[in-house]
Amino acid sequence: MTAASSLRCRECQREYPLTATHVCEFCFGPVEVAYDYDKIRRNVTRASIQAGPASLWRYHDFLPVDRDAAIDIGAGFTPLIRAKNLGKALGLNNLYIKNDTVNPTWSFKDRVVAVASSRARELGFQKLACASTGNLANSVSAHAAAAGMEAVVFIPHDLEVGKVLGSSIYGPTLVKVQGNYDAVNRLCAELAGSYPWAFVNVNVRPYYSEGSKTLGFEVAEQLGWRAPDHCVVPIASGSLYVKIRKGLDELAKVGLIDEPKTRMSGAQATGCSPVALAWEEGSMNFRPQRPNTIAKSLAIGNPADGYYSLVQLKETNGACGNVSDDEIVAGMKLLAETEGIFGETAGGVTVASVKQLAERGHIHPDELTVAFITGAGFKTVEAVAPHLKPALEIDATIESFEAAYNAARPVEVAV
């Protein structure tokens, strides 16, 4: 049995049963899952977690789903890598990369969708739905396929072929919506309110967002049961950023790690930076934006957890990177060239933000810092392709190869 006990409003603290509800009926504040932590403490040890599967379900005691109901396509328990080369390039002596590009559909969305789809099935839903520009749609489609559920996925009409294919291979009903971003958003919000489907990030959002905690659990376990000193996390809706810290806090609450003193920093693209701008202005009120950035997976102009992100930035003495599209591309290349990890544009935002925050003194060189790379680069090749070195084109002769190779490589100076 799960230790989840109720849904609780984050504003007025009213409690609700564990149904498909995402907004407090009284104040319209967001609700989140509350747990019986005494029960978790009684059930869980470090050893019991380590004996679990190599997926996020090793932490099922902390999730709002019964273990037997889990839809497990292998999401989570991704590598934590000591990034010595990238650290050296950025002047950081203790930098780690949490590589979430290697999830089943190549992004961290598999974590949230694993939990949302499992809970949706438990609640009796037969259809999973979402509105997405890429990663979320891929993951919903895959989880629905594995669970034998129907998926209905709404996408903007002008999405790139690769992103459409990354969903359609799993056989969902794909709906291309005409209109600009605001129109698509408005339509999907209304659809979510009128169809009896599990819209993973709307009516089952309280369960969905719990999946992000598992990144915090994993990082602590992989560091030998300790919290990092500093995390740098990309901010879209803000849910991931807030929930990673919740994961660390929960481990401490049940006695598996010491009380975390982790500083939580964010990363946003300048073309969609409502949280970064509010943080720079010292305001707790963000102004919604119309996104215009190559980091489309972070393009949420009106982030649901924007306010809570600002609270966390303040409470943990974090900072928020705010980086241009050029810096994002440079960040993607730097990560690939130093650590052999091809992250998507959101990963470029994170790496560029780590660089910016380190240069401005927000990250101390010796802090144990974890940068979260949340999606694979093959999802966003259009963003980086024009900036890469072209291949050498040769005839099938040694002479042709040597001429091209010698012309292309840097001149070696004899000393």
């Binding site: 104040c27 969305k109 997405s132 903007p156 009106n302």
Partner: protein
């Protein structure tokens, strides 16, 4: 009767204007404020609008024409 839950975000030049009062007066829409945070520079109000669907749409279009940003109460639904 339809019910719509929305978030109004006000730019600085509209802070002093009684937009929600006018919305209820000029359109057949009942406005019910649930949460708000307004200061001298910016502000947001989360409210429930109740009335005929077309009348709510007209009221929202009017508020937008005045410079109010209107979003679903859940924040953006389309994710990456």
């Amino acid at each position: 009767m339809a019910v719509r839950r929305v978030r109004f975000t006000f730019p600085e030049d509209l802070i002093k204007e009684p937009v929600i009062y006018l919305l209820g007066k000029q359109f057949q829409v009942i406005t019910n404020v649930r949460m708000a945070d307004v200061d001298e520079h910016t502000g947001w109000v989360v409210l429930e609008l109740e009335g005929d669907g077309t009348e709510i749409d007209k009221g929202i279009a009017w508020a937008q024409s005045r410079g109010v940003r209107v979003d679903p109460v859940t924040g953006d639904v389309v994710e990456g």
